[in-house]
C-alpha cells in the first residue's frame, strides 16, 4: 500500500484509458516517475473487444483476462481503492475508505457503468433461461451456450437507447448467431429479431449500407426505436417500449442476447466534474475539462461526441498526454482530437467490416482499400492482431 497522499498526476481508473495514459506520460517524461497514481480497485483487466468472439464460440474467455498488477507500468503507484468523490476546487479526491489524495493534475478515465438493474427482471435472469449477454466476463460464455444449443424459434438481440461501449457489439453477435444457426441446420426454423433503441443500424452511411445488405441477405427482422424495458424469464417474454408511440410490445423468445443500458459512473454523475448528461464535461478537441483547467477526461466516461471504443482511446491518449504536459511545463503545442473511433463489425465467421470515422461521421480509414466491404483479412486483424496490439502496444504507451 502506497503511503503517499500527494501526486503530480492522479488517474482515476485503471482500464484501457488509465493505463495507456500512465504509460505514455512516463514515456514522455521520466521526471514523473513515482509521481503518478492510478486509483482502481479491480484486480483483473480485460480485453473486452474479444468478448464478441467468445460469445460466438471462437475464442476462450481466459485469453481476454490478465492480472492488473502485471499491467501497471513501473513507476506508477497503484491505489487499489474506488474513488468516492471529487473535490476539484481543493484539487483532491476521496476514496471509499475515506483517504484523501491530492493532485496537481487529474485524469478521469473511469469507464462506463453497466446498469443491469434498469431492465426489470434482467439482473436475476442473466446467464439462465435463454438470457445471455456478452457484456460481462461472468456471463459471456452463456451466449455461446445459447447459440450452440439453439434448436429453433425466436432469437432476439437487443440494443438499448443509451450510449454503450462498442456500439457495434449488439449486432455483431447476431450475425455470428445467424452463421452458426445455418451451420447447425436450425436457421430455416428460426427467426432472428434485432430490437434497437437507435434509429438505424449504424450512424455512418457508408457502413450502414453494407450492414443493411447483410441484414437483408441474412433475413433478419429489424425493429428500430424499440427499447427493452423488462424480461420475464420464467415465461420467456421480453417487453419493449416503442419510443415513437410509447406502446409496449411483448415478444416471446427462445433465446435473448441483451445489451444492457449504460451510463456514466454514479460517483461522476454526482460530482462537480459532470455535465448535465452526467458524463465528464470536457472540450471535444483538447480533452481538457471545460471548468477545471487541471482536469482532463478520456474514454467512455466523457461527453466526447463519438462512439465509445478502445480505438477511440488509442487516439485520445496521445492528445491528452501532450496537452497535459504542455500545461504542466507551460509550453505551447496543444494537440486536437478529431473524434476518431473505430468499430470492427463482425458480419459472420471469417468476415468483418472495419468502420473508422470521425466527429463528422466521415470515414477516416487506415487501409488503402474499401473498408465497407466484408473481408476475411479484417476478421483476422480483429481476432489475431488487435489483442496483441492492445496488450503489448497500447497499454505500454507505444502504439
Amino acid at each position: 500500500m502506497n503511503d503517499l497522499t500527494d501526486y503530480k498526476v492522479i488517474i482515476v481508473g485503471g482500464g484501457s484509458a488509465g493505463i495507456t495514459v500512465a504509460a505514455r506520460l512516463l514515456k514522455e517524461s521520466r521526471a514523473l516517475y513515482g509521481k503518478i497514481a492510478i486509483i482502481d480497485p479491480a484486480e483483473k483487466h480485460y480485453f473486452q473487444p474479444l468478448w464478441t468472439l467468445v460469445g460466438g464460440g471462437v475464442v476462450d474467455k481466459k485469453v481476454t483476462e490478465r492480472e492488473q498488477s502485471t499491467l501497471i507500468p513501473d513507476g506508477i503507484a497503484w491505489i487499489k481503492e474506488a474513488v468516492e468523490a471529487f473535490f476539484p476546487d481543493e484539487q483532491s479526491v476521496v476514496t471509499a475508505s475515506g483517504n484523501k489524495l491530492s493532485y496537481e493534475f487529474l485524469v478521469v478515465a473511469a469507464g462506463i457503468q453497466i446498469d443491469w438493474h434498469k431492465v426489470k427482471g434482467l439482473k436475476e435472469s442473466i446467464g439462465k433461461n435463454g438470457v445471455c449477454s456478452n457484456y460481462s466476463f461472468d456471463y459471456v460464455e452463456s451466449t455461446w451456450e445459447n447459440i450452440r444449443n439453439f434448436s429453433g424459434g425466436n432469437a432476439i438481440f437487443t440494443n438499448p437507447n443509451t450510449p454503450v461501449k462498442c456500439g457495434g457489439a449488439p449486432q455483431k453477435i447476431m450475425y455470428l448467431a445467424d452463421d452458426y444457426f445455418r451451420k447447425s441446420g436450425v436457421r430455416s426454423n428460426s427467426t432472428i429479431h434485432f430490437f434497437s433503441g437507435a434509429e438505424s443500424i449504424f450512424g455512418v452511411k457508408k457502413y450502414a449500407d453494407t450492414l443493411n445488405r447483410v441484414i437483408e441477405r441474412k433475413g433478419i427482422e429489424t425493429h428500430y426505436l424499440h427499447n427493452l424495458v423488462e424480461i420475464n424469464a420464467p415465461q420467456k417474454k421480453a417487453f419493449f417500449k416503442n419510443l415513437s408511440t410509447d406502446e409496449l410490445v411483448t415478444i416471446s423468445y427462445d433465446m435473448i442476447h441483451v445489451v444492457p443500458p449504460m451510463s456514466s459512473p454514479d460517483f461522476i454523475k454526482k460530482s462537480p466534474l459532470a455535465a448535465d448528461t452526467g458524463w465528464v464535461d470536457v472540450d471535444p478537441y483538447t480533452l481538457r475539462h471545460k471548468k477545471y483547467g487541471n482536469v482532463f477526461g478520456i474514454g467512455d466516461c466523457t461527453n466526447l461526441p463519438t462512439s465509445k471504443t478502445g480505438a477511440a482511446i488509442r487516439k485520445q491518449a496521445p492528445v491528452l498526454v501532450q496537452n497535459l504536459l504542455c500545461l504542466m511545463n507551460q509550453k505551447t503545442g496543444m494537440q486536437k482530437y478529431n473524434g476518431y473511433t473505430s468499430c470492427p463489425l463482425v458480419t459472420g465467421y471469417g468476415s468483418l467490416v472495419l468502420a473508422e470515422f470521425d466527429y463528422d461521421s466521415k470515414p477516416d480509414e487506415s487501409f488503402p482499400f474499401d473498408q465497407a466491404k466484408e473481408r476475411y483479412s479484417m476478421y483476422l486483424l480483429k481476432k489475431q492482431v488487435l489483442p496483441i496490439v492492445y496488450w503489448n502496444g497500447m497499454l505500454k504507451g507505444l502504439l
Partner: protein, 193 residues
C-alpha cells in the same frame, strides 16, 4: 709575480663565508645525499638518448616502426570520402532522428510481444487454426495420390478399348471432360469476335 697562500685565502673568502652559513651547509649535505640517485638517473637518461639516437641512425628500424604505425593508425585516419560522409551524416541527422523516432515504438512493441508468452501462445494458436485445415487438405491430397499410385502398380490387367469406354462413363471423368470443353469454348470466344 706568484700569488702567496695568503692571497689564495683572500680569493676564497667569499666562498668560505658562504660555506660557513648553516643553510648552505645543510643544502650541500642534502645535495650530496641525493647525488648517487641523480647519477643513476642521469646514466639512464644517457642510455635512452643513446638508444633513440641509435634507432634513428638505423634506417631499417625506423622504416619498420613507422610502417607498423601506418598500418595501425592508417585505418583510422579519415580520408576525404569519410569526412564527406561524416558531414552528410551530420547534415541529415534531424531526418534520421525523425525516422528512428517512428521506428522505435514499433521495435519496442515487437520486443514486448516476443517477451510476452501469453501473446506468443495466442498468435501460435491462431496460426495453427488457419494453417491446420490447409495442411489437412494437402496431406489428404498427397495420401490419395500415393494410394492411387500403389493401386496402379498392383493392377497389371491389359488396357483395351473397353477399359477406356468404361472409364469415360465415370462421373468424375465426365465432369472433367465437360470442364475442358467449356474452358476451350470460353478461351476461343475473343478470337471469334
Amino acid at each position: 709575480m706568484q700569488k702567496t697562500t695568503i692571497d689564495h685565502l683572500s680569493d676564497l673568502q667569499p666562498l668560505l663565508s658562504l660555506l660557513s652559513q648553516k643553510e648552505i651547509q645543510n643544502s650541500l649535505i642534502q645535495t650530496l645525499e641525493k647525488l648517487p640517485e641523480l647519477v643513476d638517473q642521469y646514466s639512464a637518461l644517457e642510455r635512452n638518448i643513446a638508444f633513440i639516437k641509435s634507432v634513428l641512425n638505423d634506417k631499417e628500424s625506423t622504416e619498420y616502426l613507422l610502417g607498423g604505425l601506418e598500418d595501425e593508425i592508417g585505418k583510422y585516419i579519415p580520408t576525404k570520402d569519410s569526412l564527406e560522409a561524416l558531414m552528410a551524416l551530420v547534415h541529415n541527422l534531424p531526418k534520421y532522428t525523425k525516422y528512428l523516432s517512428m521506428v522505435e515504438p514499433i521495435m519496442e512493441f515487437l520486443l514486448s510481444t516476443s517477451r510476452d508468452q501469453e501473446s506468443v501462445d495466442y498468435l501460435y494458436k491462431g496460426a495453427q487454426e488457419i494453417a491446420g485445415p490447409i495442411q489437412q487438405k494437402v496431406e489428404y491430397g498427397w495420401d490419395l495420390i500415393q494410394r492411387a499410385k500403389k493401386e496402379a502398380d498392383k493392377d497389371h490387367s491389359p488396357v483395351n478399348i473397353f477399359t477406356v469406354f468404361k472409364l469415360i462413363k465415370e462421373p468424375a471423368v465426365q465432369r472433367s471432360i465437360h470442364f475442358v470443353k467449356a474452358l476451350l469454348t470460353l478461351a476461343s470466344e475473343p478470337k471469334l469476335k
